[in-house]
């Protein structure tokens, strides 16, 4: 059986005035109907990897890969039209920074309905009912009130869940979730993960879960990829996280504050230049 997604030697670089920034430098992995976690520090290329799969790479960037294929479709040679129709319908991405991804002058409810309407013909009343049901599914307490709010009127965690609702309403086969729960409190975080988990199990969705929270990722995903400076430095089954070999991964595990341990100051990572080679 061929995998849902194949990424082989993906590279993304940005020409800038001061030289080329190589954001992604030869990333390879495959994904089936499973949960794959991508962790790594800020700037390591996690979001740009996700965006390349979505076809949302900024136009000034250069992108190349030996293979970049979704369900047998070669993404790099697909037409703009073909990619647009994949996006949202079969492949969706929850973007980091929800407040910037939402339209500030449109109410939350209308935005969800518009998203639904770009993919399906629905009557206004049905659209409203489905948008409210989705807000409820992501554990928004009073969907009716939130439906009529503007993005600046919701809390950080609510904004994130609105984004999730928007992406899930179309029922994608592959979902890339970029830091989808970083602004959520722990109990809601688990509720949202449970929703995603159910979709993987019931609909056979493939999920790429991008996060900087290694502890959370390992408790949720089947496999974890660790990125550093644009490359994959380690790939591990979540259950074997304790066997991590790369000093960056080990450092990440070691510098988390936990309840009941008292380490002042916390250990910090000593980054070695050779990690970025």
């Amino acid at each position: 059986m061929s995998p849902l997604l194949t990424v082989d030697d993906l590279r993304v670089s940005f020409p800038t005035r001061t030289g080329t920034v190589e954001a992604v430098r030869g990333v390879s992995f495959t994904l089936g109907k499973e949960r794959l976690g991508i962790v790594g520090e800020s700037g390591s290329g996690k979001s740009q990897t996700g965006r390349a799969i979505m076809g949302l790479t900024p136009s000034q960037a250069r992108i190349s890969a030996k293979t970049l294929a979704f369900d047998g479709i070669d993404l790099l040679s697909a037409s703009a039209r073909q990619r647009r129709s994949l996006r949202g319908k079969r492949v969706a991405m929850i973007l980091q920074d929800p407040k910037y991804s939402l339209n500030p002058v449109m109410t939350i409810g209308r935005q969800i309905i518009e998203t639904l309407r770009t993919h399906e013909r629905v009557l206004a009343s049905e659209g409203r009912a489905r948008a409210l049901a989705m807000l409820e599914a992501v554990q928004i307490r009073d969907p009716e009130r939130v439906f009529d709010l503007y993005p600046h009127e919701v809390s950080g965690g609510m904004g994130q869940r609105v984004m999730i609702a928007m992406m899930l309403i179309c029922g994608p086969e592959l979902l890339i979730a970029d830091e989808p729960t970083s602004a959520l409190d722990v109990t809601v975080q688990l509720d949202v993960l449970a929703i995603l988990d159910k979709l993987v199990a019931e609909r056979g969705m493939g999920l790429i879960f991008i996060s900087h929270d290694l502890r959370l990722v390992s408790s949720f995903c089947d496999r974890v990829i660790v990125m550093y400076a644009g490359r994959v430095v380690e790939e591990l089954p979540s259950a074997n996280l304790a066997d991590a070999k790369h000093p960056y991964t080990q450092g990440l595990l070691n510098c988390l504050p936990t309840i009941g341990t008292h380490r002042h100051p916390l250990p910090v990572l000593e980054r070695k230049p050779e990690w970025a080679l």
Partner: protein, 250 residues
Amino acid sequence: MTREVLSVRDMVVTFDEFVALDGVSLSVTEGQSFGIVGESGSGKSTLLRAVAGLNSFESGTLTVSGRRYSGHLRDKDFYRTVQMVFQDPYGSLHPRQTVDRLLLEPLAIHGFTDVDSRIARALDEVGLGTGFRFRYSHQLSGGQRQRVAIARALILEPKILLLDEPTSALDASIQAEILNLLEQARKDRGLTFVMVSHDLGVISHMCERLAVMRKGKVVEIVSVEALENRTFSEDYTRQLLVASEGFRRD
């Protein structure tokens, strides 16, 4: 003797009909680090913003260093005493401003003249060399931006720092650096912290006491020891503690 420096009594904040803070009370003593945890939308940011005068409160009292404040009016003196670091490092700094401009602004408002040495010292304190002084904030990583936001808050030498999820957008290694930086600043300057986080690990590391919030109310105030020994009374606090151990598939 420990002196109360910040006191909130029966604070109520509403947006149209919606009650975002429903009679919140808490008291923070000098030099203390006080944590706030609670579910998304429970009013944590609203509470800090109401203290800082960024949204007004309808009823209740706010006392800071012995002075009473109401509504959302705060005088210049207030901001010499209280500064805030926001939840979102991407939104809180204007992207098209240089670090220099961002740090200069509060100094100019408060009429400081020794701006060069203060900016250099502030950058040094947060571990950013003077090489960062003329960078634009959109050229900084998330961790670097949060350092600039902290430098900006510390530059007026406040006594109280209100911290809204200062590390939730950062990876664990950078979070550790920022938490160490904040602890050091607190030690060096005898600062008082009020810190919001959804991560109980972070709160138990940084704070001595914490308030647990839910639906606009404080449901419980406990010491960190009580949290560690599980000698608290609210079921919701226990749920938070269990949830902080990670995802479980059942």
